[in-house]
Symmetry: C2
Subunit: 474 residues, 2 copies
């Protein structure tokens, strides 16, 4: 049979079944962007004649990673809000009001390139200006599941006291809902579902109950997922109890949000019982270990969610906090933070977090039928890892394989040497094939300088980090 | 004045003073392997004429990192002992007896290359076969502070029950002490102190009190540091209490070990009072966050040690456990694990862990007068970081600098683009200038395969990891 592409001689990790689905000297046959066969090289070589044959000798080949939650635009201010408490208020707060759509877009592009080069093929990007960012994903060729903020709170968090309830401005709510609906109309289902959209109420504390209900009705009517921050911190719980005398999840239950359309991000402040309720209602979870660890010193209840039988994906969140937009970092931190949380080295072994970054993450964001494993009928989103990189060396196959522990614990990202989405190579050996990397880096640098120069007069609001600099520590 | 090398136009972080010692558009003048001036480029360009001029535009330039504790030879078995409890017994235990000097050396070479490429210039390498490894450091040109295991326990840990006291064999003690003394005689002070030696009693539980005392007498007589695992786990405490009815630090106090010659590694199971006693006696600490986090799910008391006023260095430990032999990883994990331990994002900010990886780490291992900062009279061990790498972008200088947070939290290692030791470039843009990388990787791969094939009959001893593989999870 004639096909587009045949990958041969791979150390193949299909992620099929309950483990990593290893096939020694494996092959993947791809036609029209989809996987048409997976199996031993000998067998597939007999059955298929390919336009392009990719020799994957000394390569680990696996499904592309799913970044289940990121705010790519924060790339524009990487590293300005570290080591500070009240991160949203005092860390990024002073900078937020100076961001423009133009410089946010520049930050997004850079972060997306960073993720792609480290093997992310699906970006669940929750960003502004989302319509422009969608154009970039169109050009880049990566898979995107896009969301924008529906909220009624103006950019004033840095001026509030810790106990103040956030002000709501309904006009902001209308405007942001409109933008999200425009995103859905223009992009949901684009390019045979390569780009899809979800609805993004920012969190139960960021919009009024009326708008929350309106969003849920639209989600039901249009069969859309709701991608939302839930119980993200004690800060949110304080807002919810102050406003409604209810914790986030009880509130969401009451207004009908707890069902399989909910992708609940963070859950840092959720109790075990709340987590179990979410799983019972078939909501899914995204854990952003790096971000929550650095911003709050906390480890969200991903293990409880998994134990209760739920699906958990991994998200890199934002680079003005977490700093890294890539899933190899998230896999490692998720495994290590939970080992520490439970003082148990057996918690979340490498193969489990690899499943969270691939097949289970895909299910968690509602794309389980299309991506997440290398299996017949799924889209050919595929990552190659160079096993001759020193961080992946030596490669051991007996008495057990070390590929997966080394990918999760030792690899740093640069070992990824080829990335395919829909069977098309987007990145190979350090080069991006569909966009101009240099322009993107230059633009990001220029806009960041412009933005932060404007912030100069706000020094008094920037806490730790600015103090550190004045004392010669940054 | 004529000199060998002038580095100009750097974003220079000298690590002088109490912070990071930033100099905008900075320069470093180097002659005969030492730093002869540090200051603004304009000024140094007037004062010096150099044989070699290195333009560091768009580069962050800082002192080389000190890996204060590593067992490089475990590189030969990277990734075989993950996600398992009783790591020493059940994780590496079954493999340990099959290691030969030849394959340990191959593992060491690969791990050392990995560290150098990510900016480690000083390797406090606690390894076997140390005399051969010293030859490799001689050839490579890196700075090395070498130690080998003085111990009386044979390689039988994997056959013991958890409560069994380790057997001591005095003949092993004599042999290993002899090797350490040979190391001192042949290498201590080599090449104007580029290679030095310390004494390495493995830990208070691994040799008899008589041999411990003998080692301490030699240390006093020859003015050598003692590089030792101390209170490394509850396992050690159990041995000490079982044998002597004393905890490790009380025991060490009694036999005169607690003074400024002691470099105490781990201290995982040390109490706050024990930590304070060590600081009072001017011992120093090395924390191996990655290794202890992954092997035990614990966070050693580095913050307590720092608070009590002690010096703490960072160590990468071994790659059959921690997996990564590089300090950018260690800086990040040390900061994040301690934020989580104390549920406080302000704990161990980026600049503090950068000091631990450079100037304070140098002091902790007794090399504070020679390395650790860029300052006149110190050795020219210098690292260049490419600021155009996406992980370091954008570069922000106002209202505060983001170089240090991005180096610690975002960089992955591949941003290091040049490494100098004693003013000599050893690594530049992915190439090693003094050794053949390809041979080293090939050799390591070959020996790893040979070794693990021999271990095949020991499957029954390998716990989690082998179970995982049988179930298709690895």
């Amino acid at each position: 049979m004639k096909i587009d592409t045949l990958i041969v001689h791979a150390d193949l990790f299909t992620m099929q079944g309950k483990g990593v689905g290893y096939i020694d000297n494996g092959a993947v046959a791809i036609d029209a962007g989809k996987i048409v066969a997976v199996g031993p090289t000998d067998q597939l070589q007999k059955e298929y004649t390919a336009e392009e044959r990719i020799d994957a000798t000394n390569k680990m080949v696996l499904p592309g990673f799913v970044d289940a939650h990121l705010h790519s635009y924060w790339g524009i201010l990487r590293g300005v809000a570290q080591d500070t408490s009240m991160w949203m208020h005092k860390g990024v707060g002073p900078f937020r009001r100076y961001l423009t759509d133009e410089n946010r877009l520049a930050g997004s592009k850079m972060n997306i390139l960073e993720g792609l080069a480290a093997g992310t093929t699906t970006f669940c990007d929750y960003s502004t200006p989302i319509l422009d960012i969608a154009q970039f994903y169109k050009q880049l060729g990566a898979r995107a599941r896009l969301t924008c903020f529906i909220k009624e709170v103006p950019d004033v968090l840095d001026t509030l006291q810790e106990d103040d309830l956030y002000p709501f401005e309904p006009a902001i709510g209308e405007k942001t809902l409109h933008e999200n609906l425009e995103l859905v109309d223009r992009w949901h289902g684009y390019d045979d579902n390569r780009i899809t959209a979800t609805l993004g109420p920012q969190g139960p504390d960021f919009l009024s109950v009326d708008l929350m209900k309106k969003v849920k009705n639209i989600a039901n009517e249009k069969q859309l997922k709701i991608h939302m921050h839930v119980a993200q911190a004690a800060r949110e719980t304080k807002q919810m109890v102050g406003r409604y005398n209810k914790r986030s999840i009880a509130f969401l239950d009451e207004i009908g949000y707890l069902d399989d359309s909910l992708i609940a991000v963070h859950l840092t402040d959720a109790t075990k019982e709340e987590v179990e309720l979410l799983v019972e209602r078939e909501a899914s979870m995204v854990v952003c270990s790096g971000a929550i660890g650095i911003i709050r010193g906390e480890v969200p209840p991903a293990c409880s969610f998994l134990e209760a039988g739920g699906n958990v994906g991994l998200g890199s969140d934002q680079s003005t906090g977490n700093n890294c937009n890539q899933m190899i970092n998230e896999m490692k931190l998720t495994a290590l933070f939970n080992k520490i949380k439970y003082k148990n080295p057996e918690v979340l072994p490498a193969w489990k977090v690899l499943r969270m970054a691939t097949v289970e993450g895909a299910k968690a964001v509602g794309l389980g039928d299309e991506i997440g494993s290398l299996e017949v009928g799924k889209k050919a989103d595929i990552v190659f890892v160079d096993l001759t990189a020193k961080t992946m060396q030596p490669v051991i196959k007996s008495p057990m394989r070390n590929h997966v522990p080394n990918l999760v614990y030792s690899a740093r990202g640069h070992e990824v040497c080829r990335v395919l989405v829909n069977g098309q190579t987007l990145y190979e050996n350090g080069k991006y094939l569909t966009v101009n990397e240099e322009d993107i880096v230059d633009q990001c640098q220029r806009f960041a300088t412009e933005t932060t120069e404007k912030v100069t007069k706000e020094h008094f609001r920037i806490t730790n980090a600015y103090e550190f600099m004045k004392q010669g520590q940054l």
